[in-house]
Assembly symmetry: C2
Homo-oligomer: 514 residues x 2
């Protein structure tokens, strides 16, 4: 087993390959499209909406006294740097100017910026900065890369007898995709076309020098997000280079002790390992490689990674209990969904079967010897069926993954999946990551219309609630839900929510499990 753990030389080679694939981002400058004002509105998402209150033509020369603010609409969600041209009006400035800059993804984030923080993640994630400017007039390009749509400028302190003046606001947006989104394919209804646009905007803003999970938070390469981004990438921006770079970075930080594929890694200042390992993310590697190959990715690179993919399955096979089904490993994080108390055993068993199936497909494409893996998969499916499919699975997670893993198939799969989805007592998805798999499972059982209804209800529901990028967390009944203890910490532009474009643009692909 240990022979699949990458050697230092392999890691170095992957890092070198990643560095060689690090292309300059595309930069484009955008101006605000409107002056806006957050308005409290119980019917709006999270209780706030932005109301247009002025044309961008009113911005040059706008005078702001101490304590005054202006909120600007960038037109759509963007990632990049804020640049301001500032001056003063009144007496010559006798002191520095202190200015608060805030870029918000959602109106509630902008409106409730001053509320106490209640979350568990570092509130350094807040895109809320105070700068002191010694000289006016000046052009200030704020150095941090920020992500969002709503730009707030608050004059914390001007001086005695003078106010701040905003002469110009520019946003230097960056992406490794294209700023202009690919047009929707023909044949979509207007709501579907809008869902597609929002998906690709989300993907665009997450495509930086790696596939990031969210450009506001965590700004990081995660294996689970990468897999879903890759699907949407294949039907839109088609950047195999970015996928290869992301994959090489992750592979370089495979855990040395046991060869577990990392759940994420850090790019900067130098690529380095994160501590996180997620059981179901490890098992995503075979499907990632298979998809990359399908998109024209480098065959030798994929071949070099194939043993590592098989190794993830080997690790998981060690978790089987006496009944031949997986026991979620102690000391590992099994993600599946943001849902407290979810029973993750059946879903993880489905994931393992799905991974083995992807591996068999990959091995076949590459002409690799898969040994008796097909027999192993058959045994796993049988054991899983015995353990989990004799009665109705308790959750969408279990049903979707048992279908995706081929543990239940054909008419039985369709019946079981629909029964779970129709049962109000079933544990529903906590977020878009699992919702994607539920939709995918519907495609697999031939329920395309039902799948589309689910996409239009869930992702279309976000659009109805004002989303111009798709959210990390979305529960229509609980607008302020956050796994982090504070809704402002949620990422509004989140990679794992971008997959409806895949279903809309390549429904045939969605009829394959991997």
């Amino acid at each position: 087993m240990s022979s699949a753990i990458p050697t230092p030389a392999q890691r170095t080679a992957w890092l070198q390959r990643a560095a060689a694939l690090d292309r300059p981002l595309r930069a484009q400058v955008f101006a605000p499209t409107a002056l806006v004002q957050p308005v409290e509105d119980a019917s709006a998402w999270q209780g706030w909406r932005m109301q247009r209150c002025g044309d961008p033509g009113e911005l040059p020369g706008l005078r702001l006294a101490s304590g005054e603010a202006v909120h600007l609409d960038l037109g759509e969600h963007r990632v990049g740097q804020i640049e301001l041209e500032l001056a003063s009006a009144g007496k010559p400035p006798d002191s520095p100017l202190r200015l608060r800059l805030r870029l918000s993804e959602l109106p509630g984030e902008a409106a409730e910026a001053d509320q106490p923080y209640t979350g568990v993640l570092s509130h350094a994630w807040y895109q809320d900065e105070v700068v002191t400017i010694d000289e006016l007039p000046c052009t200030l390009r704020f150095p941090r890369r920020l992500a969002g749509r709503w730009l707030s400028l608050v004059v914390v302190a001007a001086g005695v007898g003078w106010d701040a003046v905003v002469r110009a606001v520019r946003f230097h947006a960056v992406t490794s995709a294209t700023h202009q989104l690919p047009p929707p394919p023909t044949g979509l209804t207007p709501p579907q076309a809008e869902i597609d646009r929002v998906c690709l905007r989300t993907l665009r803003d997450c495509m930086q020098t790696v596939f990031e999970d969210g450009p506001k938070r965590d700004r990081r390469l995660w294996t689970g997000d990468l897999r879903l981004q890759l699907l949407a990438n294949g039907v839109s921006f088609k950047s195999t280079a970015l996928a290869e770079r992301s994959l090489c970075l992750l592979a370089a930080f495979t855990r040395a002790s046991d060869g577990a594929f990392p759940a994420c890694c850090f790019e900067r200042p130098e690529p380095h390992a994160a501590a996180d390992i997620i059981a179901d993310y490890c098992l995503a590697l075979p499907a990632i490689l298979r998809e990359l190959l399908r998109q024209g990715g480098d065959r030798e690179l994929v071949r070099g990674l194939a043993p590592l993919a098989r190794h993830q399955i080997a690790l998981a096979l060690a978790w089987l209990g006496d009944d031949g089904v997986v026991v979620p490993p102690a000391g590992w994080w099994t993600f599946i969904d943001w849902k407290e108390g979810l029973d993750r055993q059946a879903p993880l068993h489905g994931v393992l079967c799905w991974a083995l199936d992807a591996w068999l497909g990959l091995a076949s494409t590459l002409g690799l010897d898969a040994g008796d893996d097909a027999a192993t998969l058959a045994r796993l499916r049988t054991a899983g069926h015995t353990a989990f499919c004799r009665t109705q699975p308790p959750s969408w997670a279990a049903a979707a993954w048992l279908v995706l893993g081929g543990v239940v198939t054909g008419a039985e799969a369709r019946r079981l999946l629909l029964a779970v989805l129709d049962d109000p007592a079933s544990v529903r998805p906590g977020g878009p990551y699992l919702m994607h798999h539920a939709v995918h499972a519907l495609y697999l059982v031939g329920e395309r219309d039902r799948a589309m209804t689910l996409i239009e209800a869930y992702w279309g529901g976000m659009v109805e609630r004002g989303a111009d990028v798709f959210w990390e967390i979305y529960d229509p009944d609980e607008p302020r839900r956050s796994p982090y203890g504070d809704f402002r910490m949620n990422s509004a532009c989140h990679a794992w929510s971008c997959t409806p474009s895949w279903f809309l643009r390549d429904p045939a692909a969605a009829s394959r499990a991997s």
Copy 2:
């Protein structure tokens, strides 16, 4: 009269001259000398003292969790930029690091940084900044130029499972003087030598690309400070270039409507006018020119400015009342001292006489025709004597300036000055600027010992209270006094407090009024 108002061509020439005199600053890097902690102490200045709590050797590797802080002693007051080398300990950082940086001139400023602000000036003056750092480890050179001795680093937010680590702290100090202070002259007592050192440290830190009033606040060239700095400069750093540059900048912004010499001007981003005109600062110009010439300043430059100096006197002569004494002009600011309710008539009359005397000396040195200015001065002195010296003047301000202006002379001057200084009912100085003139007046009347006693009591009092630079505001009975409504807004390193070095190093010069 209007012929003395500078033409556009003259202004341009002065600005060009100022630009040509803009020399690179001297930079030197310093490391903190101690870890300290603010300790509340009713007997300490403003209620706080810094207590040493660690060696600088403890700094590299110091770990700070969210909410933790470290306070560092830079060893002495410095002006420049903070550079930090930061890293993390624990899990790899999963979020940005938010750090608060504060540079304080005095312990109370550091200790009470979180108290509500009660002042009238912009609190953007606070040297208290929050930065968000996306990548660790990093080297952060904070871009603002700051001034102070006590550096506080507060971790506002690290992340989940990791802390910030301080690897190194460097302070890039700048001055156009020399970082090393000239040694005290021989013959001083240890307290006098210490006062001299603190004076020159103050002057050094105010000598940047102009003579600044205070490097924390206002960071600006003021005519009144310039005059006093020039005196101390002549016995220490001897930078005529900086004096000439400062003078040219001010002259270029002479008020166009009436030729009033500006109280201050701004250097950056391009030199520009301030709105302030101060009657007694206008009248400082003759003495500034005379002193500059004495220090070897450019004779042609001074000659070119001489008509402007005479013009300030012409402006003031228009303020005379029927009794031949000045009436402080309505719509002008007459400063004299930071002291509310001070009767400024007698002091301003003294200032005018002193200015005329300086002008006569200047004209004589330059071989200029002074017309009947000597007769005018004689008339002014007589009128002033009649109006203000028949009874005991009510304030130190009046007594000092009547002596400096030669309105009262000889034994009468000595008697009158001492009577005012000894009378507890006299209005005492509000700050060092006027205290300087009281000391100077004592020298003029031959009371050198009394002058030295006053220096040792007042400036020595600041030293006893922990000053390593001399303060803008010092009233031993009212430690939290501030003309700006908040003691933290006071400038602790203030040019107008640096003159004891002049008295200590060149007592003969102090026996001349200008």
